[in-house]
Subunit: 221 residues, 2 copies
């Protein structure tokens, strides 16, 4: 419904159409930040409108309702990681390199998109009620691409044949996500900046070491 109106205004390159697109964009960005920070319940429409420098009337004009806006925010952000998986998850000859690159890409994507981490965390807590409405393939897509990398690794005998791919995918997600998800709780205990270049790399190397020595075939034991 909003998409229809959007397209109609889109064809105007200048003037009102452009301004409406700008407004939509500003709302989406503000809403992303505020929904990420406070969740669907905690976020206030008035706050989003004010932050976007737009009137509440216009916000409802563009997005219909709070929940609809929230869903649009999810779509807007999920598209980012969808793009990531299409670009960074390639199948080369070196299995170890494939996994490393995919995990690194995923890890640094999360590091640089805290809003995304938080949005998905809120979603997890309400059972993916809204995420399901938007791009239901999303979760699959990234996982499928990563799954292919693992499968290929098994075929090439770099990864143990009895590896449970689904479990590995959940584990990789877990190892990356929780670091950012619980950052604010861990930070005061560690007394270090978990987002510094060094600490990020330490964490990533730890994750890779854990994964590889777990899933790669060993000669011994």
């Amino acid at each position: 419904m909003n998409n229809g109106a959007k397209e109609k205004t889109m064809k105007k390159v200048d003037g009102r159409g452009q301004r409406s697109e700008e407004s939509r964009g500003r709302i989406l960005n503000s809403a992303t930040r505020i929904f990420a920070k406070k969740g669907l319940d905690g976020a206030r429409i008035d706050e989003i409108a004010e932050d976007a420098g737009i009137n509440k009337r216009m916000l409802y004009h563009y997005f219909g309702s709070k929940e609809d806006l929230y869903v649009e925010v999810l779509r807007f952000n999920y598209e980012k990681i969808y793009t990531l998986s299409k670009n960074a998850f390639n199948l080369a000859d070196d299995s170890k390199e494939n996994v490393t690159r995919a995990v690194r890409a995923y890890f640094y994507f999360l590091a640089k998109n805290e809003d995304f981490v938080r949005l998905t965390s809120w979603e997890a807590l309400n059972g993916g009620r809204f995420a399901k409405k938007v791009i239901p393939q999303f979760f699959d897509l990234v996982e499928l691409e990563f799954g292919d990398i693992i499968k290929d690794g098994i075929k090439r005998n770099f990864i143990r044949p009895d590896t449970d791919i689904r479990q590995v995918i959940v584990s990789v997600q877990a190892l990356c996500l929780v670091y950012f998800n619980r950052r604010e709780i861990v930070q005061p205990l560690w007394q270090e900046d978990l987002l510094s270049e060094e600490m990020l790399e330490v964490r990533l190397q730890h994750i890779l070491a854990l994964i590889f020595d777990g899933i790669f075939s060993h000669e011994e034991e």
Copy 2:
């Protein structure tokens, strides 16, 4: 403040004192369930009061405010895992057995206390703002005990000496937590009951395999 009133009523074994303790307990249980399900913002005081079969007036009498009740709920639930770490985290001679037992205890505690998983997840999303107020040692305690197990493993040469203990603790938490945290999102994709005895054991064994082959010294590679 409430503790004072509580103690005063406690000394009566029967009658008013007992009933007030019962009421407090019922409120705490209802609040745990509802806060876990909907979070601090989503939960409604009226809903909690009704669920506890008590008047809202009394709820405020016992707990002062919504936030105070929330904090009490956190304390009430954190004490459970504190007890766990004291009972299940023992140092025996077999390092592998120590780690296995601790991880298993932690994993099954989470499996059987979904409210706890959700409460801590909500807390992670608001930066542990309220958790910090209650038992600030909590997070440390479990981690310290587990850290000791790892340290002991290193001393006994079962675990690589260059192991970053903090990273391992976060990773263990991650591998266990995310399975339950994202259960509702993973479930429709896997089309299996993630909480069935079999699936729980599959996940636990996967976690243990991943951890051990990561942190235990190998002869090769």
